[in-house]
Symmetry: C2
Subunit: 289 residues, 2 copies
């Protein structure tokens, strides 16, 4: 620790999934020195060759001093958090204890309010909070279709329906993802996440609740009120697998405000399965239903 | 068949669940003669002592002539339909074939648009379509709490949050039911139905995605735009069991526009489990969040 000028350090608050590693690699490629703060689902991950501090929830309050010790003044949040901290049932560190009133207020509310609150904690202590896509390039969904397969007329209707519903669901801070056919909404993402929702869609198809001829799509939408610096809707290669298993025709995402992780691999996987991946806004599709 | 004056006949278009039998019994008690048209999930049910015609989807088009043959001019729709007809894969009767363009248009769209379309088919042929609660008394949810357990302050916040979201979900013709805590939406009902959604909530609680101290409630809401004559949100004793298994504190329903089937048994079951059942509108709770 402590080599190189302070301003090239980047604190990566790293939860679960593949995203934190991609961000860390991109930071290095850009000449930055990543300091990984592993939390939540990210605690189990290995970080060979990286400077890493592991903080269980009970030590949440230590994050600011650890970052300062490492000379970090700029942070990025990334990765998934599936289980929220139950601060009532743990023995917190002294610093966590001092932070407790704020923490308890934070872990209430939807994802969006949680993340805003966390960013506020950092900013009030003088840290700069930057977005994933300011570090990781080529990750924002472009406008238009990326795959060989393109949405046909009924797919576009399904995308339009799903996009409009997902935007409303997001406005209510319920979730980001919806599965729809041209004619109806099939499933809405609550706290269970996209993977569990797609498994459910697969079951509904297997037991005949979705007709064989009913083309369905997944849409993941940017929440109208959300801070663009974190929790942008995202997909990766595993989403393609899950969408295929659910019998979907393809995936739509809000262009410019959602992430495709490892876009080359995602497009290859989608092409291999005959799925489309498209950046399609409700406006571009002709407005909400 | 054909005994008794025509005007006392009531056609009961009977899908699945306990509701059709309750309606049939109430009709008899009121001096009416029920003629049961068993469809969809209702095809498997026994109807000892009742005049019953079983119509698979392929014979949908025969329903009008069957009702006329039985001297029926007034009908009520009740029960659940879990699998929509796949008209493309069946050999329809001649009458169904003639109806096909209308049928294919009907089976598209959300539940609400499907039911409106079905009612329209009957009305254009001179049938009167009446509501379940015009036959079955004591079934509309009253305003206020029915159980020994009453919602406390945090339950009321959860009810308010769930009710506001369920109303929006209903406005989009997605579903009728939402599970929420005071602080966030947990699950939203798509086409999977309330039972499957509550099973999901139970799993989310079992694997720690819902905190032990996070009080959750189910709300089933009347859709703002829906026709009051059918598909009112409803609960029965099995909903109490499912809510209990999901670790919920209680259930809220739109007063005056939702059904509690066998209210005495439902209240007994809820009291035995320590759950509340309450008719609570968003307005009564102080408005949406």
């Amino acid at each position: 620790m402590g080599t190189g000028p302070t301003e090239t350090r980047l604190g990566i608050i790293a939860a679960g999934g593949v995203l934190p590693r991609l961000v860390a690699e991109a930071a290095r490629d850009a000449g930055l020195t990543p300091v990984i703060i592993a939390i939540a689902d990210g605690l189990r991950q290995e970080w060979p060759g990286y400077c890493v501090v592991r903080l269980p929830w009970s030590k949440t309050g230590d994050v600011f001093s650890r970052l300062s010790e490492h000379g970090v003044s700029r942070v990025v949040f990334c990765g998934t958090i599936s289980v929220r901290p139950d601060y009532r049932s743990m023995i917190p560190s002294l610093r966590t204890l001092r932070l407790m009133p704020e923490l308890l207020r934070m872990v209430r509310g939807g994802d969006d309010s949680l993340l805003r609150a966390v960013a506020g904690l950092f900013e009030r202590r003088g840290f700069e909070v930057v977005s994933v896509h300011s570090i990781l390039r080529n990750v924002l969904t472009p406008l238009g279709t990326l795959t060989l397969q393109t949405p046909d007329k009924s797919d576009r209707l399904a995308l339009q329906r799903a996009s409009a519903a997902a935007t409303e669901i997001g406005r209510l801070d319920i979730g980001q993802a919806v599965v729809a056919s041209p004619d109806r909404i099939i499933a809405v993402e609550g706290i269970e996440g996209t993977r569990a929702m797609l498994e459910r869609v697969g079951e509904l198809r297997a037991n005949g609740r979705i007709g064989r001829g009913e083309p369905c799509v997944l849409f993941k939408a940017f929440k109208p009120q959300q801070d663009e610096r974190f929790d942008l809707p995202s997909i990766g290669t595993e989403t393609i697998e899950q969408a295929r298993a659910a019998g979907l025709r393809g995936i739509g995402l809000t262009p410019g405000r959602s992430l495709i992780l490892e876009v080359g691999r995602v497009v290859d996987a989608a092409d291999a399965k005959g799925l489309f991946v498209t950046g399609a806004s409700a406006e571009e599709e002709g407005g909400a239903t």
